[in-house]
Subunit: 780 residues, 2 copies
Amino acid sequence: MIKQAAYAVEPWCVREQRLNLDMLAQSESVFALSNGHVGLRGNLDEGEPHGLPGTYLNSVYELRPLPYAEAGYGYPESGQTIINVTNGKLFRLLVNDEPFDVRYGELRSHERLLDLRAGTLTRKAEWTSPADDTVRVSSVRLVSLVQRAVAAICYEVEAVDQPVRIVVQSELVANESLPTAGKDPRAAASLEAPLVAEECVGTDQSVVMVHCTRESGLRVGAAMGHEIDSPDGAIDTEVRDDVGRVTVATRLEPGQRLRIIKYLAYGWSSQRSRPALHDQVIAALAAAKLTGWEGLLREQREYLDDFWAGADVEVDGDAEVQQAVRFALFHVLQAGARGERRPISAKGLTGPGYDGHTFWDTESFVLPVLTYTQPRAVADALRWRHSTLDNARARARQLGLEGAAFPWRTIQGDECSGYWPAGTAAFHIGADIAYAVVRYLSATGDEAFARDYGLELLVETARLWRSLGHHDAHGRFRIDGVTGPDEYSALADNNVYTNLMAQRNLQAAADLAERHPEQAEQLGVTDEETASWRDAAADMYIPYDRRLHVHPQSEGFTEHAPWDFESTGADQYPLMLNFPYFDIYRKQVVKQADLVLAMHLRGDAFTPEQKARNFAYYEALTVRDSSLSACTQAVMAAETGHLDLAHDYLGEAALMDLDDLEHNTRDGLHIASLAGAWTALVAGLGGMRVEDDTLGFTPRLPGGITRLAFRLRYRGRRLKVTVTAHQAVYELLDGDPLEITHDGERVPLDGGAVSRPVTPPPIRPTPTQPRGRVPRHRGE
Amino acid sequence: MIKQAAYAVEPWCVREQRLNLDMLAQSESVFALSNGHVGLRGNLDEGEPHGLPGTYLNSVYELRPLPYAEAGYGYPESGQTIINVTNGKLFRLLVNDEPFDVRYGELRSHERLLDLRAGTLTRKAEWTSPADDTVRVSSVRLVSLVQRAVAAICYEVEAVDQPVRIVVQSELVANESLPTAGKDPRAAASLEAPLVAEECVGTDQSVVMVHCTRESGLRVGAAMGHEIDSPDGAIDTEVRDDVGRVTVATRLEPGQRLRIIKYLAYGWSSQRSRPALHDQVIAALAAAKLTGWEGLLREQREYLDDFWAGADVEVDGDAEVQQAVRFALFHVLQAGARGERRPISAKGLTGPGYDGHTFWDTESFVLPVLTYTQPRAVADALRWRHSTLDNARARARQLGLEGAAFPWRTIQGDECSGYWPAGTAAFHIGADIAYAVVRYLSATGDEAFARDYGLELLVETARLWRSLGHHDAHGRFRIDGVTGPDEYSALADNNVYTNLMAQRNLQAAADLAERHPEQAEQLGVTDEETASWRDAAADMYIPYDRRLHVHPQSEGFTEHAPWDFESTGADQYPLMLNFPYFDIYRKQVVKQADLVLAMHLRGDAFTPEQKARNFAYYEALTVRDSSLSACTQAVMAAETGHLDLAHDYLGEAALMDLDDLEHNTRDGLHIASLAGAWTALVAGLGGMRVEDDTLGFTPRLPGGITRLAFRLRYRGRRLKVTVTAHQAVYELLDGDPLEITHDGERVPLDGGAVSRPVTPPPIRPTPTQPRGRVPRHRGE
């Protein structure tokens, strides 16, 4: 587990001041660089030691069979697993006769720094070899947010007190051997040597490799080129069997430096030929070289300056959260910036966890952040979903349903879940996607997207709901036998979250079809069909327990036995690794916000009193064995007036990876939880909601935070909201005048800052959590 | 599919008058011989052609890994699969230069006959070889019901019109190659060459082989010996690599015969040494030889005469059912006769289907028949369950429960189900076992069994229920999240069958503990504990739908959407092979009697009017995709007055395998459905029930059956009940006087025949079945 002391608390960077080999794998995830297309884990330049070597290209996967002890109709037979592609990060260094390896000799100093404004990972080491020769090694690494195919590294070696012979081997290596995965089913299936060489050529300090995956038939191109600034010496280029190597040999006097700029270019395709891919990557390399190292650094900073200008969040009073939320926003940006019609996966491109799959996390946790900070990435991600509609329609047909059944987990669009009660049955993903469309349209007014992509997504998901549910004898529209967000319940009737989200999906589809009648007609939508959607939405059954005056998460939930929290030890979490699903499913225990998430996303469906009662009821049952919970609990804790608790949950969401709270950051970052840190601040403490197409805020701060300021992009404008203990200030940074709401009151914005008083929350008893599951307290 | 015309309709045998190679595998199951310890499929003597070669020893299995696409806590990692052991049935025959193979030359006649009184399989063939030489071949095969380890075959060859050179090779062969299994998950996993040779020796027409399984470490011994009556010629014995062979070469003149008696002996052990097992099988062989062929035939008939004297069922008016019920009783006897603390599996020892596993079928469908016809076999089968209590207790602990959680499917006692929603969650198996104990005790008064075995089984299952359920805020005892008998629903709350069976389990455990206080104390049972069982039983929640006036199968069931039977084609059954579980589970569609089975086994919990309404309601939803349904529907159809429908379901249960109604008789017989034929006749048309420890009958015949007579064993007595259209006659064949009931009225029996009038049933509208699922009509 990463102790937070591992990283210094600074507002704009994550700095590791000494190397801890026990947490190497975790730090590789934390220091991963990506632009959503190419991802490099923060492996040491010299390759070893490593936790998990990782170089990823979005959607480059291999197929693997999904086995079943007892097969069933409609079970996916084949899964997809992200693979470690050709590694271009490697620099092997020989100092006199000793390989530079931090496990030997003496590491006098070692610092790594992820700069959230520069978009670079910097490393500085001073090392004395076992033979007593001392060198300074430094590297600066970036994955370009501007040039999608490009990464670059500036690598330097300096002799300190003695002249040394130096040999640097800059490599491009395919089919690296990987440590085998543990027994945790969340870890990725290990796939050995997935790449078959088609071409490996090198000349003049440049190497190009083209490989093909065995089963999935994807072609991957990688190229490296160099600029070498060396006192003198020899340079050699060789290529052999999955290894391309440029070797620089020289002799350095004390204070003298060898500097190598390495440019990397990647590309992949399921269709393009070997020569086409070869040409594509050397072209990208040429563009990178033309830009040059300094140019790449400059472009990177400009891109990020622009991002932060519309996305930065300032938190005064909690320096850890200040750092963590910027770290979170940086990684959310990295995951989605240049995805461009490829999915944003649960781990981004930071590790092989969950096989590199994309879940509902994307639409429900990641896209809400990008919608208000980098909306173009949202349109791209939803266009990717749209591109998988044929797969989802085929899946719906296979399941006997109309419309589109999107996969619970996938890379390429087909269902890859091998456990249907927590996969296929979680139909809410359709409504989550639909809601992401509605949210994006509301925040951008992008009618071209609505017409060309959004409408079809809404129509096909609405069709799914209409065929999945049915009217009962009382005229209620029921959705039976599905699994909601909480993975500690399954196959229940009338999950409130699912039904409320389906209701909005059906309404929104009917409304958008009405707004785009021609496109709706092309999709075969008739007035009878939209009427049947509106009818189902109006009749949607939302169970309510009149005895307890709370909403059951699903029908019957509140009749079930409560989990025996008193007898459950701290070492028995997460419960799913220590108790059988059968017992977990049938008792009142909640893995992650479900009804509470419904209250956030469909706040209009609950009274304030219901929200308060429901929140308290589910607080006592929610164990947060999922990283997709704390952020939502923060939002509803804030709304129901429990501001210190909201602060605590905010901290948990924000520090998920910097503190390695779930002990699996090694497999990649929890992108959705990181995104949730923003949501906890902006929707939680900032109280941001969009109702009736109007952006509104009900901001309130806990005692531990003295000032919160955040920037948003909204309908072509930039806004800044600043909250202190008693006052909220709204500023329109650019764009046309806009009306927002503060605490439900309309506030016109047309340039200058407008301030409004913060109203104190109602006072209610503080909810309690299950024994041992109280979040870490962050207040004074 | 076997058309019934395949077998002549005769009252006491199953005769196949010509060989149909397309149904060879099915006929191998129909003609299987077994005594519950050793099982031989009805393979042709010469081994080829075959459907599935099969020689089984009860509980000789191999382990195989159970794979999961996504693993979970408590999932079994290893499964057990019955294996084909050393085959001693083989006689290869060479006629001049031509091997006797029914696929070549001309098969002039071929008859096989299973004699249900003699307990033998007889075969007679006349064959002309491609070289135009004609021989008559006959064999008589038996698996001794008296000598557990022994089988024997009398094989004869006769020259017809020309002198012929004859060579017969009588073989013992291990690791036969098997045809690979299809994609149907119900078929067995194919395990290649599971036996490792430890000893293969032969001398003087005898061969002994000892093998060991690779993973499960079971040692299997097999031996053969011969008596050869040959005109002259040479006899040779050789053994090599898993093959032992006794070769007889001779020349036959027309009319002259070669006759070979082959004795086989089998044994196995998980503990005994190679020499011990060697000695055990040659000792069994010696005993068989001492008895001699004629002696074995005589013993077999005596054993069966005794069985039929207490078990025979006569059916006048429906000759097919007459034959089928005797065929059924014969196979039920074969499955359980000499199991002796080994399980009775779903297929008996007739084939590899369901991996040779034992399910709840045994206690719920097979043991009820044996309880009243061969009660000693019931005590043995329940002693086997008792011997697995440690496994079941360990499983309960693993699942976080008290008492014993018996496995859904197993050979040796550990859970082998790889799909927990239809395996582990089907906790009703505990109550099914408990009920089998109660039924056995009530029918035999075997207090020694109650004290030494029954009490512990009841106590440990009661403890399971007490820990599985909980009292809710209304004081009701609920059992949530379990799966009832109907495999087209899963993980529901308060399944009526489960709750009613658990209720009886809890009551019976408390009552028996009260009767055997010392033994109860040894088991740690306190008065507080029995009080808590009685309390839970009294508070048991039985949901009822007041709108429809029916019992929902489980809570909420009647609110679910009905299955769309109108759009479901005949080729889409069984539904589980054509629709996803998620959709099947959440709709009103029933695979097999569930609530209807509850009405049979817990008739006391329903009023006659409820029974009628419930029966009609579930008739319209039940598709009978399981062979465990028709017999129960027959029973409740009869009770609710639908006698023709009862007759139709009786026919379906009885003819399951002779007509191959589920197209999988090839993998083994449906022992529970065969047992159900008896239940349909005796509990259905005979109206037999035991209430308040009194045996009672409410007999009524459908128009198509003119007379029904059945014999029973009950508390050390034999009874005969004869029913005609208007009269029932009760006879006490031996034993002390007894009081029974007829139509609820007490009837004393003390020797002579007592007759009572049959009352006509109430007239109610005939229930309907789902489209295309009406049972075949059997009436006039």
